[in-house]
């Protein structure tokens, strides 16, 4: 099975609502990153959280990391239609030279 699995696989919400998605991983990490992919486009980096951090904010994004549970969550507050995309978590390996991506959470924000 893969390092970095997102849950849920798909999420549909109304504009203005919050969207929460989770990522679980199996091996120790140095850091965890979240990326967004709009339909038909490449991935765009959103936020990085290091293994010694528990929470990080960037605009309407809030990321948490629980290394004891090997899990992370991404919260998008006050969602907008433009937030419609797939969101991926990515973890690095011990050497720090490779990212492994999860399967993604597809978020649909309805206007």
């Amino acid at each position: 099975s893969q390092q970095g699995e997102e849950d849920p696989q798909a999420l549909s919400i109304q504009e203005g609502e919050n969207a929460t998605m989770n990522c679980s991983y199996k091996t120790s990490i140095n850091n965890l990153q979240w990326y967004r992919q709009n339909s038909g486009r490449g991935l765009v980096h959103l936020i990085l959280i290091r293994s010694n951090e528990r929470e990080k904010h960037s605009g309407r994004l809030r990321v948490t990391l629980d290394t004891s549970k090997k899990s992370s969550s991404l919260l998008i507050t006050a969602s907008r239609a433009a937030d419609t995309a797939s969101y991926f978590c990515a973890t690095d390996n011990a050497a720090g030279n490779k990212l492994t991506f999860g399967g993604g959470t597809r978020v649909l924000v309805k206007p």
Binding site: H45, R50, N97
Partner: protein
């Protein structure tokens, strides 16, 4: 200006053909990557190069041969294309991934369809 560019954007070809995808980055990064994204959106690393040297080769069939003529370019040549090679191929670049972590910048992808 585009940071990471790939050509072509779309590629439709017959089984058994040989094709190449090109990637260029103008970010001054020293590390470049090729990823394959399948129809279920699962993204898997194929290769990474640091300063023109191969550092990661993720058990990719030897029909796939990357080439890095310089730090700003990483091309992917695929021989004897198979139906299962149909996917979206993404190029990415970063500063060398150290323990502190580095952001990767992705190209727009090349959609390959093998008939």
């Amino acid at each position: 200006d585009t940071a990471v560019s790939q050509t072509p954007k779309y590629l439709v070809t017959q089984m058994g053909n040989d094709k190449s995808i090109k990637c260029e980055q103008n970010l001054g990064h020293d590390t470049m990557y090729w990823y394959k994204q399948d129809s279920k959106k699962f993204l898997k690393i194929m290769f990474s190069y640091n300063n023109k040297e191969l550092i990661i080769n993720e058990t990719v069939p030897n029909r796939f041969s990357p080439k890095s003529p310089d730090k700003a370019h990483l091309n992917l040549h695929i021989n004897s294309l198979e139906l299962g090679d149909s996917a979206v191929y993404f190029c990415a670049s970063s500063h060398y991934l150290a323990v502190g972590g580095e952001t990767q910048y992705f190209g727009p992808g090349t959609r390959l369809l093998v008939l």
